[in-house]
Symmetry: C2
Subunit: 418 residues, 2 copies
């Protein structure tokens, strides 16, 4: 197979299908989502069988257990996938929404209409649920999708693709509205990243090496999720009870998620009082503590943190702690070491809260709340295709709206420019 030719063909089909997807009625898109969900439920045994083949291959190739866990389907996970599609059905259709339609002094009415981006390329790793989630979000937002899943999940993704295509057909939508790259050749990714004419945006979902490769090679604009080195700063005005709850939840609710706190910053005025009880809570959960010199003066058991620690997304039961002079030094630390993901302040002082909200340049900035809230569902987006740490176009959790753009609409009555 000539990979270039194969991918170019996918791109051309996607571009052609994108016109029909953009015009599709809300009812047709919802019919497609319902049909896909039903097809997935009905195909549960085929999906599990396909998954079993993928798992056997993965084990034979000696893949890591964590990866195998992400790859594994079971009846409950299949149901979660179809439920996810039905959830997307219930979300408002953003396409065609007109906002801010107002008369101008010239007499014309000017507003903005939300429109699909066009063709979305999604590159992801093992999880088969991304295939259905991404297809569902692209369908609902009126976009055509090109999905390039991990080679580990190929059989399962092909079985899911059959469910998706049958659902699109049932709703009278083009089969090419969602295409799954049916080759495990890695060159296909390179081709996808160069298809500027026929792909409007690339969304990579996966580990650092995938993101790095996409960033380096893509000629298509990318909405990416980079590392999440998230901070909680405990100001000396913080309420201790709230702080214990938030600082514990932000670190220990789940260790492997991008919105988990990795560095705790503590105002020196309260560090001697708040760090010892906090350390007990963390040690109770088995969290390893690493700290600056001032931290170690209070918590002698903490390992000395290096400059590298401040930059590290542990994704593990490890927490680095730094004592800072106050708000300014906390913001400076976040500016220097943060990744622009999610940062929180614990404070009862409204002036400092306002400064933190304004001055910390991250996709989510919080006051007295756990960084773990940085999530599309928690924010009310209904579903998310990822979390963007970029500034352009979409920032933070990206839902249906992030897969759309706005064009201007102008209504007149024969108006001309003077």
């Amino acid at each position: 197979m000539d990979i270039t030719e194969y991918m170019q063909d996918i791109g051309r089909r996607a571009r052609a299908a994108a016109r029909d997807m953009a015009r599709a009625s809300t009812a047709a898109k919802n019919r497609a989502l319902a049909a896909i969900a039903d097809n997935i439920d009905a195909a549960q045994s085929e999906l599990l069988a396909a998954n079993a083949r993928d798992l056997a291959d993965a084990r034979a190739r000696g893949l890591a257990e964590a990866l195998i866990d992400r790859l594994t389907l079971n009846p409950a996970r299949v149901t979660a996938i179809s439920d996810g599609l039905r959830q997307i059905m219930t979300l408002p259709d953003p396409v065609g929404t007109i906002t801010d339609l107002a008369y101008r002094p010239s007499g014309i009415q000017v507003g903005r209409m939300r429109v699909p981006l066009g063709v979305i390329g999604i590159i992801y790793e093992a999880r088969p649920n991304v295939t259905a989630d991404a297809a569902g979000l692209c369908i609902k937002s009126g976009n055509a999708a090109i999905l390039r899943g991990g080679s580990e999940a190929l059989h399962c993704n092909k079985a899911l693709a059959a469910c998706v295509h049958a659902g699109l057909a049932a709703a009278g939508l083009p089969a090419d509205g969602v295409q799954i790259v049916g080759t495990t050749d890695r060159a296909a990714v390179g081709e996808l990243l160069r298809m500027k004419e026929n792909v409007d945006i690339i969304v990579p979902r996966g580990g650092q090496s995938l993101i790095d490769r996409v960033m380096q090679d893509s000629l298509v604009p990318v909405i990416k999720h980079y590392a999440g080195v998230c901070h909680v700063y405990i100001d000396d005005s913080a309420d201790f009870e709230k702080t214990f709850a938030v600082a514990l939840n932000a670190k220990t609710h789940r260790y492997g998620t991008c919105n988990t706190m990795e560095t705790l910053l503590v105002s020196e005025a309260i560090a001697p009082r708040i760090l010892p009880p906090l350390a007990l809570l963390y040690r109770d959960k088995g969290v390893e503590l690493r700290g600056c010199t001032a931290t170690r003066a209070i918590l002698p058991d903490a390992v000395l943190a290096t400059d590298e620690d401040w930059r590290t997304e542990y994704l593990a039961p490890i927490l680095s702690i730094r004592v800072v002079a106050g708000l300014d030094e906390a913001i400076d630390h976040i500016y220097r070491y943060g990744t622009g993901h999610t940062d929180a302040i614990m404070t009862e002082d409204i002036t400092r809260a306002r400064r933190f909200l304004r001055e910390v340049d991250s996709s989510s900035v919080m006051v007295n709340a756990s960084t773990r809230f940085a999530d599309g569902y928690e924010y009310g987006l209904g579903a998310e295709i990822g979390i963007s740490t970029d500034k352009l176009h979409a920032r933070g959790p990206v839902g249906l709206e992030g897969l759309t753009s706005q064009k201007y609409v102008v209504l007149g009555d024969g108006h001309v420019r003077a």
Copy 2:
């Protein structure tokens, strides 16, 4: 001078200044704008002298008259520049605006705050007014700017830079908030386009060759204005009187602007009745008509249009005309040949108007109004840094809002994720 080193230094300074610009109060930014405007008025004779040097160089190098006209300053143009800055002062400050702040079932409040993009690189050609306009828009939107004007305007741009820097200083803002690349070495542009770490977005303003070069080489995301092949489609339901006014205005109000109509599409049902009187109006203005075979059957004097004509932005008193079967063929033509800039329909039929608005995928889509309205001032943006024909981030006229992004803000009271 080592250009790489020189530009890297500019990038680092811009990144550092961007923090202060982002934090600057609305009052400080307005003080800076007022001071810059006053400085420009006070420096009128120096600006004209610097411009005279540029003009002398340009004439010695045999630059085209059109370019020399764009380069030329006179007292009225200097006043227009300072007035433009005072106009930006009056615009609302987008930075810090919080929208959609609402309680979620978990108890947290989630909203979005508008924030500056960071560092904006603007690459432009002869017009010295862009230096002040772009500086003003970047200051008001809380961004740091790196301005790389055309070498033809270097003396004048340096004189304007002095006014800008004195104004920033008067308001307590960092001088590096607006930097002007002080070398005419073309390699500086290449460096700017590769400074991913320290430049957040590139806005090229100029002709096709500049845009092409930026598109090809930029590693930084670009907001660009591509060609404007704008269409007016006259449906058979159109009101003739409105159509005469709009079709004439869209083509003849100004020939050299991007929102000028280049192709007129006419429903075959009314072409025999409307084209002859329209042709008289165009001929009266000296507009050359080129047409498809069906057009020439009605207007025998029209030149036969080639496929190339449908793709051409004439920027001249030339109009191509195509007779189409109806709305579907008109939309197909725009899809195939358009540049996604601005397209209009003339119709009294609300169903066709709704379809045109929804299905034509251009940055501005209009009903019964002249394409010439596609403009930041006409849309109420107050000022524009350009018109984007891209879909991502900003589409259509780009004003202060297009130079910002939105981050999520979350307010809690010790809330944790369950």
